[in-house]
């Protein structure tokens, strides 16, 4: 990742997202899904399943992955890559915590 393109914005607090859940951030035409795992790790992926664009933010979060609500693909929260036999990936974004506050890097998706 190129440091020059980093662009961190505060999007809210960890406690705004339910554990094993997700909330969306709208950035122009892009929707970014912010996930919180059972152990309070925060991840950000574009809210678009690599299969048929299903909204990943609406899926069930488990063990570092989310299951897409439309056809059950399982996507890694860390890498945005489909797991198992399925192939494809969605954009993932950098996330930092500043105390309880979440910072999202909208400069360069990975």
């Amino acid at each position: 990742m190129n440091a020059l393109t980093e662009n961190w914005v505060a999007i809210g607090a960890v406690s705004d997202i339910p554990r094993r859940g997700s909330r969306c951030v709208k950035n122009g035409d892009t929707t970014i899904a912010i996930f919180r795992t059972v152990d309070d790790h925060i991840y950000a992926l574009e809210d678009k399943c690599p299969h048929k664009n299903g909204p990943l933010s609406q899926g069930i979060v488990h063990d570092g992955c989310v299951t897409c609500p439309l056809h059950n693909w399982v996507i890694s929260l860390e890498t945005g890559q489909a797991q198992g036999a399925d192939e494809g990936g969605t954009l993932s974004f950098g996330v930092k915590l500043d105390g309880d506050s979440i910072l999202l890097d909208i400069g360069g998706a990975r």
């Binding site: 662009n7 809210g12 705004d16 859940g21 951030v25 152990d39 069930i60 063990d63 299951t67 439309l70």
Partner: protein, 815 residues
């Protein structure tokens, strides 16, 4: 001519005797059996799992009605023999049935001993011996309160654990200073006491009961000699048994403590045998099944003229309380000439004790870790000289000679004649030979062919290891399909254990049932969430993060990420006011598609998630509630116009449909439930392909179930006919509740009922009024917590975060 054989008592011992007899001589005998209990033969050892809810009565039946019919046996249920006329060679029962015999077998079992305390006859003083006792305890448990169990032996402890699992407060009163003092030393008794305390069971030792206190003829408490009074809704006496000898004694047979028999099992009358717990043989009276089964074989052989002899038995037993492992065998009394080896590991909760005499094991108790039980028992029975391995004996078989063995190797190393199943006296070679010789490949096969593991079930692990040894990879112990990759357990086991172990949260289930993942997956979490909602309607807090999106936001997600909204139209009936409200909502929110569904109501499609609460708000003002078109729950009840309009209508099908929908909406079920009510057999609402359907006829209501018209097409099965609307409602509700409690997640009614048997559903819902009523009441109870309109809740602000983005970034920020 066939010989006339009459059997008095239909317990475990004669059941086994009859099996052998029909194997040896399929046509030699004309058999009549009298049973004081009003039922067929069942596995008495398994009453504790029935009490705790881990099994049902149906699971523990050994011989069903069909078996008696096949063998041509006349079984008089609920008929207690009150007289034997040895001159005329007849027996007569108290309900007036007389049968004559060539040979008679007295197998009257034993009776629980009742301490002659003041108050012993009060209502609510129970014993623990047969299914009726269990049913009484279950009935009391439903009412709640405290149960006092008198007696801290095996039976009393099993009863206490079961009652606790059924939700009662439980106190065990034990006369001696520590539990099971005959088997355990005080320190081990303490370990056991603590294990019970951990389950919330109070144990009071050195408790001398003074009297049972009553109120209005019913039990109210128990008073101890020291003046303490303990409140009690029921008292269970489990202080010992006495052989049932009254009938034999009155008939002039020789008795002492039990009915006296010789090695041939004949009583003092050569035409009469005695069998089971009522017997006294070589001054011994038995209270466990293994010796009784040996007696049973002896009698069967002798009846066929094969001169067999029974010479007595040594016994071993296990405490059957899930989660507490206790095994004991032999004799534990202290004496000058005996030594003990004790191993204690308090942190691991392990205690092992061997009693030795002349370098031979004569008694063994294992607590916490019981896998060496059969090995010790084998050494005990064979009276093996253990002096060479005395140093390491207590550590078990794995430590004998060299490095510790793995469990498979330990089983492999057992001698061929080592006893695997203590209850049925089945040795290793018999099981191994049957597996190979008869091509057996499942536990059930082994049970059917050898009886091993078919009684108390505690040797199941060993039998499975033998299967693995013989079949290698080909043996798949988990013939049950696991729920998902997170566990080895199947849906049924998980459901059973949730109830039995009182697991009330998803983390508790995952912890206790040893989930392999940290927080489950998209398959198991929704299933667990449903099971917990169903089993603990009042206590469980629904976990939204474990619900599929549709059930989390109460609308159906569409392919483009928008949602559809389907309000209820009770029974498919609507009005101009409702239609106007729908029209206004469609205009206001610019809803792109309005469609009449296949379920007699209207679907509004293409709504943005953010708009959902406002759409619901407007619909709510017109009186609409969620149609739950997204739920694994009650969907629609389709109706036709019925007597109100139709010239063929026989009953108010519209009214009944609406009544059912209003009664049942909001309930969660394993998979969706769709119903329909038709006013006559022309069946315009298509009731004969629904999960549950009703066809009205002149004489009443024909109830149908198990139809399908989606991925599979299947006409319904008929449940039965009822006369009134009230009865129709009760039957339908009970059926759905039975399904709620037993169905596997995502299993529709037609699949569930095919799996458990349509007749079983009919038996429980049509024929067993008590069961039906109980299902009905449990449904009504759970509806108290389920009938809350999810839409109005969300309009008032619940789960607000679901419907709003967390942040909307301005374009500048993105630059």
């Amino acid at each position: 001519m066939k010989k006339k054989l009459v059997v008095v008592g239909n317990g475990m011992a004669p059941g086994r005797m009859l099996e052998h007899l029909f194997e040896l001589s399929p046509d030699g005998f004309d058999v009549t059996v009298f049973n004081a209990e009003p039922r067929v033969n069942y596995n008495r050892l398994m009453l504790s799992p029935v009490l705790s809810g881990e099994k049902t009565y149906e699971d523990i039946i050994t011989h069903d009605d069909a078996w008696y019919e096949q063998q041509g046996i006349t079984l008089h249920k609920g008929s207690k023999v009150s007289r034997i006329d040895r001159g005329a060679k007849t027996v007569t029962s108290d309900n007036g049935i007389t049968a004559s015999y060539d040979t008679l077998i007295v197998a009257t079992g034993s009776n629980p001993f009742i301490i002659p305390l003041p108050g012993k006859d009060l209502e609510g003083v129970l014993t623990y011996r047969d299914l009726d006792d269990v049913e009484k305890m279950l009935c009391a448990a439903r009412a709640g309160g405290r149960a006092v169990v008198i007696g801290g032996g095996l039976l009393g402890l099993e009863a206490a654990a079961g009652l606790r699992q059924q939700g009662m407060e439980v106190t065990v009163l034990h006369l001696m200073p520590s539990l099971m003092e005959r088997q355990l030393d005080p320190a081990a008794g303490y370990l056991l006491e603590k294990a019970f305390a951990d389950r919330g069971i109070d144990v009071i030792t050195k408790a001398n009961t003074h009297e049972i206190v009553g109120k209005d003829g019913k039990v109210a408490g128990v008073k101890l000699d020291n003046g303490t009074v303990i409140d009690a809704a029921i008292v269970v006496m489990a202080v010992g048994i006495r052989p049932g000898i009254d009938l034999a004694k009155e008939s002039g047979l020789d008795v002492n403590r039990g009915i006296l028999v010789g090695d041939d099992m004949q009583t003092s009358d050569p035409d009469i045998y005695a069998l089971g717990e009522c017997v006294e043989h070589r001054s011994q009276v038995y209270g466990l099944v293994a010796p009784l089964y040996e007696m049973a074989v002896t009698i069967a052989e002798n009846l066929c003229g094969n001169k067999a002899a029974y010479t007595g038995s040594v016994t071993a037993t296990k405490l059957k309380v899930t989660g507490i492992d206790l095994y004991s065998a032999g004799d534990f009394a202290e004496a000058e000439d005996r030594q003990e080896i004790v191993l204690r590991d308090a942190t691991a909760g392990v205690y092992k004790r061997l009693v030795l005499k002349d370098d031979r094991i004569i008694g063994a108790v294992l607590y916490g870790e019981t896998s060496d039980g059969p090995w010790f028992f084998d050494l005990l029975k064979k009276q093996t000289d253990i002096s060479d391995m005395r140093e390491t004996l207590i550590f078990g078989q794995a430590y004998q000679g060299g490095s510790p063995l793995d469990p498979m190797a330990a089983v492999a190393a057992l001698p061929d004649d080592a006893e695997i199943c203590g209850c049925n006296g089945v040795c290793k070679s018999k099981i191994s030979n049957a597996i190979v010789g008869k091509n057996l490949n499942s536990l059930d096969d082994v049970r059917a062919h050898t009886k091993a593991s078919a009684s108390c079930g505690s040797c199941t692990g060993l039998v499975e290891q033998l299967l693995s040894l013989a079949l290698g990879e080909a043996y798949n112990p988990a013939a049950v399909q696991p729920m998902c990759g997170c566990t080895e357990l199947g849906h049924d086991d998980v459901r059973r254990l949730i109830v039995a172990k009182q697991l009330k949260t998803i983390p508790a289930v995952m912890q206790e049932l040893e989930w392999k993942t940290s927080c489950g997956c998209a398959k198991c979490r929704p299933a667990l969430n449903y099971y917990l909602v169903c089993d603990w309607p009042d206590e469980y807090a629904d976990d939204y993060q474990s619900r599929f999106i549709n059930e989390r936001v109460h609308a159906n997600i569409q392919k483009d990420g928008t949602y559809s909204v389907v309000p209820r139209m009770w029974g498919g009936v609507t009005s101009s006011k409702e239609l106007r409200a729908i029209a206004d909502t469609v205009d206001k929110f610019d809803i792109p598609m309005v469609k009449v569904t296949g379920g007699q109501r209207i679907d509004l499609l293409g709504i943005r998630k953010e708009d959902l609460p406002a759409v619901w708000g407007d619909l709510g003002k017109a009186g609409f509630v969620s149609g739950q078109a997204y739920a694994k729950g009650l969907r629609t009840v389709k109706t036709c116009v019925g007597t109100d309009w139709c010239r063929f209508g026989t009953q108010d099908s519209t009214g009944l449909g609406i009544r059912i929908e209003k009664f049942m909406w909001g309930s969660w079920t394993p998979a969706k439930v769709k119903m329909a009510v038709s006013g006559c057999p022309r069946n315009c609402s298509e009731a004969t392909c629904k999960d549950v359907g009703i066809i009205c006829v002149d004489s009443g209501f024909e109830i149908h179930f198990a139809g399908a018209a989606g991925l599979d097409i299947k006409g319904t099965e008929i449940l039965g006919m009822v006369k009134t609307e009230d009865e129709a409602l009760e039957h339908v509700v009970a059926l759905v509740q039975m399904y709620r409690e037993q169905g596997r997640y995502l299993e529709r009614i037609y699949k569930w009922s095919r799996r458990i048997g349509y007749d079983e559903v009919r038996r429980q819902i049509m024929d067993d009024a008590d069961k039906r009523r109980a299902y009905f009441e449990r449904f009504v109870f759970s509806q108290k917590f389920a009938q809350v309109d999810p839409w109005s809740e969300r309009v008032s602000g619940k789960d607000k975060h679901e419907f709003q983005p967390m942040a909307t970034l301005s374009l500048e920020a993105a630059e």
